[in-house]
Structure formats: C-alpha cells, structure tokens
Assembly symmetry: D2
Homo-oligomer: 440 residues x 4
C-alpha cells in the first residue's frame, strides 16, 4: 500500500510545488484569502468532494479581527484580477473565506478531519535577489502580504491530501473532512469555524504545521503547550483643545493610553503559570500643540493555561476602563483574536507514530514537543475532545532559510511529500483508530 502511495505522491510533487508557489506569489492575509479559497473549493469539487464554503462554515458573529468592509471589497476585486475562481468567489464575499471538503467512503467508520490554514502575514516580502522566491519568480506580488509562516505549503498539503484520497477512495472507511481555515495569524479564524459546527461530527482531528525548528525528515506526533492568548485593540476617544490656549477643555486620550500602558505592564504575575502582556503598538495624537483626542493600543495577553490568560485579561480590562475614567475619555475594546491552550490526546499519538514510521523520507518520529506561541487550532481540538473525540497537532520538519515571520522565510518543499503521505495514511487506516466514543 505504502509503495503505491509513495508513487502517487512523487507523481504529484510538481503540482504540490506549483500550487505552493502560486499561493506564495498571490499571498492573501487573513479574511481576504479570496483567491486561495476559491481555487481550493474549485479543486476539491473537481475531485469529487462535497464542498461547503463561506457562511456555511464560518459563523459571522464569531469572526475576530475582520478588516473594514472597504478593504474587503477592494481585496475581492484584487483577487478577481489575480485569477480567483469566479464561480466560487461569491461564496466568500465579505470575508467568509473558509472551505470544508467532505469525502464519504460510503462504508462505516469514523469521521477523521484534517485542518490546514491558508492566510499570509501582513509583511513585506524581501526583494533580495538571493531570496529563492525572487529567483524563482514567485515572490509575493501583494503589498505587505507574505507567506512567511508556511501556510502556502499547508494549503498545498491539504490539496495534495485531497487529491490522493480521491484517488484512493475505495480504501477509505467512514468519512474524511478537509478543513481549510482562514485567518490563523492573530488567532482569528478557528473560532468561527468551530461555531459553525464544522468539527461537531469529527472523531479524530489532525492539525498540521511545518517547520517550527523541527528538522526535515522528523515528524512530531503531538505539539503541546500552546499559550492561551487574547489579542485586542483599544481605542480611546477624548476631546481636543489647544494645548497653549485652553488645555483644561481637552480630555487627553494620549495620557489615558500612556497610563494604561504603564499599568497594563504592571499587572501581577500568576502563580499558576507563565504569563505575558505586551502593548505592541501605541499611536496617539494629531499635532504637537493639540491636546490629543484619540489613541489606539494594540495588545495581547498570554498564559500557560486559559485560567492564567483569563486572569491577565480581566486585570487588563480593569486597567483600560480605569485609565479611561481617570481622564474622562471613552475607551472601546475590540477582541481581535483569541485562542486557548489544548494538549494532544495521548491516545492518538501511537496511531500517528505508527503511520509516520511507514512513510518514506521520515527519519525520526517524536511523540511530543513543547511549542511556543499560540495557535487557534486549539479551538477545533478542544471542541473535538469535548465531544469525546481525539485530536492532535502534528509538526513536519523542514529546513528554513530564515525564522518564521521573517521577510526572508523560505522552506524545503520536500516536506510537503512527507506530510501528504503521513496524513493520507492517517486517513486510510482510520479503521485502526481506538476511539473512546464513536459518534459516526
């Protein structure tokens, strides 16, 4: 079986590369993955998948950090001009850029799901001649949008997996769901898919990331320790007045913001685990001689556990409201991203290890690694586990030209073959899964 799979994936490799480079060139940031999502939907459909797209898989009110409408509209036009699939594009209009492909074997068995993410970062890609995407002519053409975290490869892996499973459908049992998520950067998109119910029927979920310091040829069955996090924007609105002539008539939004910054960073540590808070951006005021009437903060909180994060968050809200009260200004808080922590199901790790061990190109299989940072796949994982299912977060190692989120980030594309093969085996052998509860 594995030999046939190997051959199939080797044949597919040029397409995997082509897809990945195409997505890289037309990088699209969170909630505006119009072109990417439409191409994914079109291909899935052409390969016999039942496709759910847009509002079917994205709960509107659960979206976080959605850009302004004008930007969404302009980006939809941009996508169209860059070759988005015109048939599917309307489904995503307004920033509903999620896709789910379903392949039903017609035979009894569990529902296994695979999640990949599609969005790029708000980053200007390097134009250096020795940056491979420049040499290869697939450097991003979209201003301040760059696949510097590997989601272009994730999307291609998802497509590769879809193609392989469509070719091997007769060997499947139960159902396969391929989840293509928007807006993972800033942990904004997963919640809206969870609340749309896309994993409510899932028995086993496999989320995937490449790189993150793992060497090419190594597979990590379960990454744990993602920090719970909340991202928020705060806008203070005061009253402007002339700083020389009548300062007492102003209500100083800049001072409220500066005071908030000091006191946010002074929030106490928690004995329950590590915590973080960072005000990463502060912009305030309009002119040197004007009492500033507006200020904007971009901040995030983190915690080893959701409890720790919630503690920091609650104290932060007190500080923000208190600072506004101090200066008689209005404060408006928008939660623009949120993710909890979620550890992999221990029962799932031996299954993944067993599949990965059979894959050509895999030189090392590791059960668990501690991750840093945050991930909103945890939302999907937690929902699956709440329903009695299993979930894990797999890492596929690859060689990196520069660190994640760096303008010169690049990968060794070989990782895509390993990932497609491993995930395909996870789907094909799903009958062997020992599931605590079978919901199917």
């Amino acid at each position: 079986m594995e030999d046939r799979l190997n051959g199939l994936v080797e044949e597919l490799y040029p397409s995997l590369q082509e897809w990945r480079r195409d997505f890289h060139k037309y990088a699209e940031s969170g909630w505006v993955e119009f072109r990417t999502a439409s191409i994914v939907a079109s291909k899935l459909s052409s390969w016999g998948f039942e496709v759910k797209a847009g509002r079917e898989v994205i709960k509107e009110e659960a979206r976080m950090g959605v850009p302004p409408l004008a930007f969404l509209k302009a980006q939809e036009q941009r996508a169209l001009s860059q070759g988005a699939d015109e048939e599917w594009l309307p489904a995503f209009s307004g920033g509903f850029t999620g896709v789910v492909g379903i392949l039903d074997s017609g035979k009894p068995g569990p529902t296994v799901a695979f999640r990949v993410d599609m969005d790029a970062l708000d980053l200007q890609e390097s134009g250096d001649a020795d940056h491979p995407p420049v040499a290869g002519d697939f450097v991003s053409v979209n201003d301040k949008m760059m696949h510097a975290c590997g989601h272009d490869a994730h999307t291609s892996i998802g497509l590769g997996l879809a193609y392989v499973l469509s070719q091997r459908k007769e060997e499947l049992h139960g159902r396969v769901k391929l989840i293509f998520q928007p807006a993972e950067e800033g942990v904004r998109g997963a919640k809206a898919m969870v609340e749309a119910g896309v994993v409510d029927d899932v028995d086993a979920l496999f989320a995937t990331h490449i790189g993150t310091g793992v060497p090419l040829g190594e597979v990590v069955c379960g990454a744990q320790g993602y920090l719970a996090t909340t991202k928020m924007d705060v806008v203070y609105t005061g009253v402007a007045s002339h700083a020389g002539g009548n300062p007492e008539e102003g209500r100083n939004a800049l001072l409220a913001a500066a005071s908030a910054v000091m006191n946010l960073h002074a929030i106490s540590r928690h004995s329950g685990g590590n915590s973080r808070i960072n005000v990463g951006v502060l912009e305030a005021g309009s002119g040197r001689n004007i009492i500033p009437n507006h200020a904007t903060l971009k901040l995030e909180t983190r915690g080893d556990t959701s409890e720790v994060n919630e503690y920091i968050l609650a104290r932060a809200l007190d500080v923000i409201h208190g600072s506004a009260k101090m200066y008689g200004v209005e404060s408006k808080i928008e939660i623009v991203g949120k993710a909890g922590s979620s550890d992999p199901s221990p029962e799932l790790l031996p299954y993944i290890r067993s599949q990965a061990s059979n894959v050509q190109g895999v030189e090392s299989v590791v059960d668990m690694t501690s991750a840093g940072g945050s991930e909103d796949a945890t939302y999907l994982m937690e929902r699956v586990k709440e329903n009695g299912g299993l979930a894990s977060y797999l890492l596929f190692g690859t060689t990196l030209a520069a660190g994640h989120h760096n303008e010169r980030f690049d990968i060794d594309e070989e990782v895509m073959k390993i990932a497609v093969k491993t995930l395909a085996l996870c789907a094909i052998n799903a009958r062997e899964l020992s599931l605590p509860v079978t919901t199917a």
Copy 2:
C-alpha cells in the same frame, strides 16, 4: 480717646504677654483646643460678654479633618490636666472648640465682628537653648504641637480686644462679636462656624493675622489673593497576599496609589489662572514580601480662583476613582479642609486705614498686599459679603525669628499692642462705617 486707649493697652501688655506665652506653652492643635477655648470662654464671660460655645457655634457635619474620637478623648483629658476651665470644658467635648463672645452696646449701630484663630500646628517645637520660648520657659509641652504661626498671639489679641472693649463699652454702638475659631491650619474650622450662622448678622468683619513678612509697625488693611484650596486624604484598601507565592490573589493598593500620584500630577493646567496639586504624603504597604493592601495619600489642590480649584479637584476625583478601578481596590476620599478665595471689600479699606493711622506704634499703613497660601477666613468673609456686609483681612507686621511653620518661629510681642489698639478703634468707631446695607 486714643490716648486713653493707648494707656489701657500699655497697662494690659503684661497680661497679653502672659496669655500668649501660656497658650504657647500649652499649644493645642486643630479641634483639640480644649484648654485654650475654655480659658477664652471663661475670661469673656467674666468680662461681661454673652458667650456662645461648642455646638452653638460649630455645626457638627460641617467640620472637616476632625481627629479620631479616641484622640479627642485623650486630648480632653490632657487639657484638663493642664488647667482647662472645668466649667466650660464640657461644652467643647468631642471637638467643638469654637467660642463667640457678644457685647451689645444697647445702642443702635452695626454689628462688627473680629475673627481670630486658636490652633497650633502638628510640629515639634525646637528645644534649642537659644530659641526664646525655651529660654523663657514657655516652649510647648505638648508633643508635636507648636504655635509656629502666631495663633497664640491671635488668641491673646482677641482677649485683649475683649478686655479693652469691656472697659470702653459706653463708647460702643451696635454690637461686637468676637469669634475665636478652631482648626484654621488645614483650613478645617471656619466652614463649621459659618454654617452655624455666627456671621449671619454681621455688617463688618475684620479677620486678622500677624507676621507674614510684614515689618513691625506696618498694618496692611486688606490682604488679597488667597488661593482656593481643597485638602483631602485618600485611603486605598486592597487585598494582601504573598508576593512570591500567590501574587495574583492580591489587589495592590500601593500600585493604585502610585498610579494615582503620577496621574494626579499630570492633570492639565487651566487657562483661567494658576493651579497647584501636591501629593505631600504617601504611605503604603506593610512588608517587603506582601502585596500591599493599604495606601494613604494626603493631597491638596489649589487655584487662583475657586473655579480653577474646582476644575483640578474634579479631575483629581476622576483620577482617584480610576486608579482604584484599575487595581480592583476600594478608594475612600475624605475632604479634610477647604477654603475659597475672597478679596477684601474695597469700601472697608479707607475705614481701616483711618483707624490704623491713629494708632501709636504704627509707622506705615498699606492698603493691599497679595497673600500667598490659603486661609479659611475666606468662608466667613464670603458669607458676610453675600449678606451685603463688608469684610477685610488685616495683617499686623512683626519681626519673625524664623518663617511661619518653622520649628524656631517666634515673634516680637509688641505687635499685640498695635493689633489690639487698631481693632479696638475699628469697633469703637463703627458708627462711621459706610455700610451698603445695614442688617442690624
């Protein structure tokens, strides 16, 4: 007439000195002038004045900055042991240490009032051998209470004036009220006398101070420009916890207070005049390794006008409440002193000038001087002016050994003779006053 007066006051001078030194030795701070007030009441009564004392002249709920009950009780005992008049003492029990003496001429005429203050400062008097009260054996025997602002002399001047008028009653017209006020330091006592109605029937009010940089022999008819001010204490109450073990369980009152301090001092200037804010004292926390659960601030606001002071005060309250909200702690604000600004009635100045010019020892009479600092005689003055009367604040110059509020403050007692004579003439010649409205 002036010659007789002069002789009478010269005869009285040893008593003035004796009284002043006695008050100096048994200095009593605000609201605990039990001994002083009882002696004043006793003397006024013996000289034929109708005496109103305690709750008759002090409105309970209008008192500010009253010490705790236990302290009041202990001080009352202390006063008793130091020779307070036992007959009058009960009237003042609980911190109602005001006295008003009334002398009715029986003839028609205006009601003129004279206000002096009786309280000492919370200051330890110098014990240096060359400090005159040490040499003269009248240094304060009361711990951290010292007449370093001349109120001992003010009280003696008030008594001297009473005695002289009682001897010259036949020359009076209308009525004379002598107001002995407690708790001027911290501007805490005048409001309670105003609200008890003690100046409601007054046609002309003469408030008095000695020193303040004016040379001996000079009389200032009207000091103006007292800053409006509010004094307040703020207590923050949080929750203690172990700073190493479970810091998240604490609610940090020290941080709330420190944040308040920063933001209080950052309150904007006002284009309507000078303003001030000062947190003069901050005490917080109990141990190095405990999240502090209490903090106390002592602060004051000032403004050229009551409007400016009210602006600073309003912003300060916002800051205090906001800082408490920030840290989830309780804040309790107590207004412990308050005074407005009040300028002298211009119509009264020529009258005062004319009396002072006739006094032996007066070498210079000045109409107006700009004062600094704050005074709660302004409450009494404003009430008189609201009722259509006239009011002024007189300064009698004297040589000072050290500045006001200094531990080595001392005066040239000669000033008491000048003050008694000038004020006595102001009372005796009251018929000559041109009053805008006669309420009597």
Copy 3:
C-alpha cells in the same frame, strides 16, 4: 500724501488679491517655500530692491525642524513644475527659503524693517464647495499644505509694501528692509535669519499678523504676551524581541515613551508664571506581539517668560533621559522649534498709532493686546531691542470664515489694503521716529 497713497494702493488691490490667491493655491509649508520665495525675490528685484536670498539670510546651523533632504528635493521639483522662478530657485535649494529686500533712499535716516512670513501649515484644505477658495478656484493644490493662518496675505502685503515704496522712493529717508521669513509655523525659521544678521542694522522693526480675532478696520499697535516655547521631537530606540518567546531580550521603547509622557506631564508648576507642556503625538511599536523597539514623541513646552519655559524644558530633558535609562534604550532629542517672549517697545506705539490713524479704512487703533500662542518674530524683536532699536508686533484685523489653523480658514482681503497703507506710512515717516540710539 495719504490721498496719493490711498489711490496707489487701491490701484494695486487687484494685484494684491491675485498674488495672495496664487500663493494660497500653491501653498508651501516651512522650509519648502521654493516657489513663493523665488517669486518674491524676482519681484523685489524687478522693483529695484537689492535682494539677498537663501544662505545670505539663513544661517544653516540655526535652522530648526528642517524636513529630510529627500523631501526637500522632491518639493523643489514640485515648485519648479508649479512655476517657480528658475533664476532665483537655486538660491533656495536645500531649504534656505528666506528673502530680504533692501531699498536705500540715499538720504540719511534710520533703517526700518518689516517682517512677514511665507509658510503654509501641514493641513489638508477643505474641498467643500462653499469654501471660498474652492469657489474661487484657488484652493490649495498641494497635499496637506494650506494657508490657514494668513501667511499668503502676509506675503502679498510684503510685496504690496515693496511696490508702493518703490513708487514713493523719493519720499523715503534712511533704508528700508523687507524681510520675508520661512517656517514661522513651529517657530523654526526666525532664529536662522537673526543669526545670519538680517536685523543687526535695524533701528525699528515692524512685524505683522492679520486676523487673530481683531475685527476688520482695527489696528493693534503692539501685541504682547507671546509665550516662550520650545518644540522638540524625541526618538527612542530599543531592541525588538518576540513578546511571547523571549521578552527579556527586548528593550521596550514604547514603555520608555509612555513613562516619559506620564512624568513630563507631572513636571511641577512654576511660581514665576504660567507654564504648559504637551506631548501632542506619540507613535510606537510595530506589531502586537513584538517588544516595541522604537517610539517617537512630539512635544512642546511653554512659559509666560523665557525663564519659566527654560525651567520646564530643563526638567523635561531630565525626564526624557531618565526614562531612556530606565528601559536601557537610546533617546535622541531634536529641538525643532524655539521662540522666546518679547513685548513691544512702548516708545514705538505712539508712532504706529499716529500712522494708523491716518489710514483710510481704519476705524479703531488699539495700543496693546494680549496675544496667546507663540511667535518667532520675537527672535527678531529681541535682537533689535538688544542693539538699542525698537520693535513691535502689529495686528491688522480682518473677518475670518473660521479660526486660524482650521481647514476652512478664510479672510476678508480688504485687510491687505489697510496693512499696506499703514506699513507704508511707517516707512515713509521714519524720520519722525524717536530712536533711543541711531545705529545708521
């Protein structure tokens, strides 16, 4: 004489309007008045003035708040494309946009100087149809540059005065200097002209402003009370690091800036007069999850007197350096504007009153008015007074459509006639001036 003058100015009025509207349409902000200055120089030259331009009248190292070189170069190109005088343009290259025109009568007499300013504000002009410059087709075509303070009219008045004096040269005695100053907004330009010596030989200086709340037909002979002020930009440079992964490696410029803001605003008041401090703009950080490595503050200090301003400034520098030390970041301070206070010479006011009273259209002449805000004409005035000369700051009233610095600011152009006539008389009758010292 005045009749002839009146006729001459009435004839000139269409030109005054045309010039003003042309300058308004091609508004140029501080140090990039390339087109304006070149046109001024060309006209002065054509009317027989000796013209000094560029580096002759602008001391390079005394300029403040000069834009970056790239911007200067681009603006010079822009000016050329908008009709700048090609002959004069090179003199101003690099941001040396000052012009001085000298008319020597050949007869003995004092040197009198007139100062106008030429720069626009960094403001986007209103495009509303009912905004007169829109209707009249002279709305600014330059992005974020607008004559919203009347300097377009000032420049025209200066040209009108030049023309009139060139026509009346025979009546002059001594010398006339017309000073066209760049970069008054932000008080950046006068110092560089003073240090180039342009007023070192001046016996009487007349600085001019229109509007400022004075009604059309009124002339104020001397505006006083300009606040001493310093404008500065502060750049903090720290070290970025990942806020979740290794926050301890960062050096937080945003926190340093926020701390500076709090403490700058907490600088104590000064008993010597009113003071102000305002951080009008704060921009810091690059991303939510990055420890911010840069921050920029734009701030200003003011004081009733230069002493008060210097006090606030000195304390501010301590705060800025201290905040950088606190966070281990670099701070760089650039003084981008500075002006002192300077009151008009009392001896000059009767002379101005006497000239203004003879002008047709003048309905009211006022000796002195208190100004608010700041002005760097004070530099020129102080230098003239230091040398024993006289100086004043005249206000010519006009009706305003909206306040100064408002995007809908507009004037009644009639004021230009009054100003030209008054200033012309001030020049023509200069022999009548009683000068304390005659340097000529």
Copy 4:
C-alpha cells in the same frame, strides 16, 4: 544503637521543650539574637565543643540588613536584662550574632555540618488566651519580635543535637560542626558566615527546617526550588519646598518613587523561568503642602534561577537610577538580603533516607519536595558543593496551629525529637557517606 539514641533523646525532651519555650519567650530578631547566641555558645562550650563566635564566624562587610547602631546597642542591653550570658555577650556586640560549635572525634573521617537559624520575625505575637504560648506563659515579651517560623525549635534542635553528640562522641568519626546562623529572615545572615569561611572545610552539610506543610512524622530528605531573591531598600532624597508658593524649587522624591514603582512592576517577564518583583512598602513625604523631599521603598526580586533573578535585579537598578534622574533627586540603594537557589545533592538523599528510616516516630520519608519562597541556607549549600562536598535541606514535618509568619503560629514540639534523632544518626554514621571528594 538507635535504641540507646532513642532513650537519650526521650530523656532530653523536657530540656528541648524548656529551651524552645525560653527562646520563644525572649524572641530576638535578625542580628540582635544576643541572648540566644550567648546561651547557645555557653551550652556548647560546657558540653565540650570548641566554640567560635561573633566576628570569627561573621564577616562584617558581608552582613546585610543590619539595624542601626543605636538599635543594636539598645537590644544588647535588653538581652542583658533578659538573662543573656555575660561571658559570651561581648563576642556578639555590634550585631555579630553567629555561633559555630566544633566537635572533633580525633578519628579520621569527614567533616559534617548542621545548620540551624536563630532569629525571630518582626511580628507582634498574638495575645489571645487560646494561643498556646499565652496559656503556657512563654508568649514573646519582646515587642514586635515573634518566633512565628519555628527558629526557636531549630535552635533547640541544634542544642539537642550538640548534647547528644557530646554524649556519643566515642562513636563519631571525623568532625562535626554545628552552625547557628543569625538573620535568616530577609535572607541576610548566611552570606556573612560563608564569607567567614565556616563551611570551607565541610564535606556534607545538613540544613534543617520544620513545618512548611509537611505532616508530623514525615521527613523530606531534600527540599528544592528555593527562589533566588534580592531584597533592597531604596532611599530617594530630593529638595523640599512649599507646594503652593514655590513648587519649582522642590525636587520631588515622592514622584520619583511613584514613577519607580510603576516602572519596576512593568519589568518584563523572562522566558527562562518565573520571576517576581514587589515593592512592599513605600513611605514618602512629610506634609500635605510640602514638595516631598524623601521617599523610601522596600522591595524584593525573585527568580526561578539566579539568572532570572539577576535579570530582574539589573532592570530594577536601571529603573531606580532612571527615576532619580527624571526628578533630579538622589537615590541610594542598599541590598539588605540576597539568596540564590540551590538544589540538594542527589547523592546525599539515599543516605538521609536511610538514617531517617531508622528513627522512631518517622512514618514517612520523602526524597524531594518543591519549596516555595527563599532561603539563604542556599549560600552555605552552594559553597559546600563548589568545594566538592554534598549538601541538602531537610524538612521535618509538624502540626501547625497557623501558617508560618502568622501571629498565631505554633508547632507540635514532638518534631524536635524526630529531628534530633535523624540528625544525630546523620552525624554518627558519617563514615558511610560516599563523598565525591574528601577534603578532610
């Protein structure tokens, strides 16, 4: 052997109780353990120990947090009046209250050391009738000094151990050192003993604590995870001035301190482990209307590792110096306590386990427990380990009436028997120790 030991300790128990209650009644805080130390020295000497005391075992300049000289002198008098040993007292004069007793077996073998601490807390003991020391008439008679951490029992255990070993000297090999340390509270005393060289010749060190949540009958062979910590006092000295009259002449120490507090608490977390910072006490200012010229902070930093603590400390010093610079005030930092982290030597644990298992009354032996808080025994442990020796920190469980540092803290004295027996066996069987290096 153990039976004889058991009998000996049971006989000694009344003395253990008597000693402990005597120390409890005459509780002495850090560096003033004059009475305790003199009694310890006297007893050790009487039992045949070579005694080193005072400056022999305390390096003067390495002491931290020593009280003022006047306090030391007064306490020495107090100790004398409470029965301190007059012969030994002079050795401790000036705050050198350490004692080391040495018992040399005369036979070859390792040097084993036992460390106990003698100081009480700055705490007022409960006077409640049901608080056992009240009922038992051994409640502390010293104001604000209370043995609320069990050091009274530690000292008695040390004495008990000394007595037992003196009775069993013939069974010993090598040498035994008993270290009685002052000033463990606030981690102030151990460093001075280390620097005096008291453990330089030690092969195995056994530090001891009772309670800490461990139940009676349980022995923990090695407590680990003490947080590295630094305790410091900061004094800011500014310039006072009248807050209304001339605020600009002041240099505000209270504002400097408040600013420091905000920024100290804002010091970033470290990815290398947990950290803490706490300003536990802030006292500033003298009067409401005075610009405060002094301020005092008491603070501490902590870290999972010494590296983390050093990072927090370094940033804290920057903040303190920066805040002083901001306000033009002086800052003086005194390190009043310091301890690192030190984990027990794994090789020593089986040995301790083996001894403890043989002790009557021991029901449970645990290898390792995670401790919280900080301990300066780590200084002694680190020095021993640096020299190639072994060290551990033993916990002997006991029932507590209230938590450590609580005013109603009390213990079950039975623990003293278990501790003496276990430690005696550790000394007696020292030949069995496998030492990596024998320095003796």
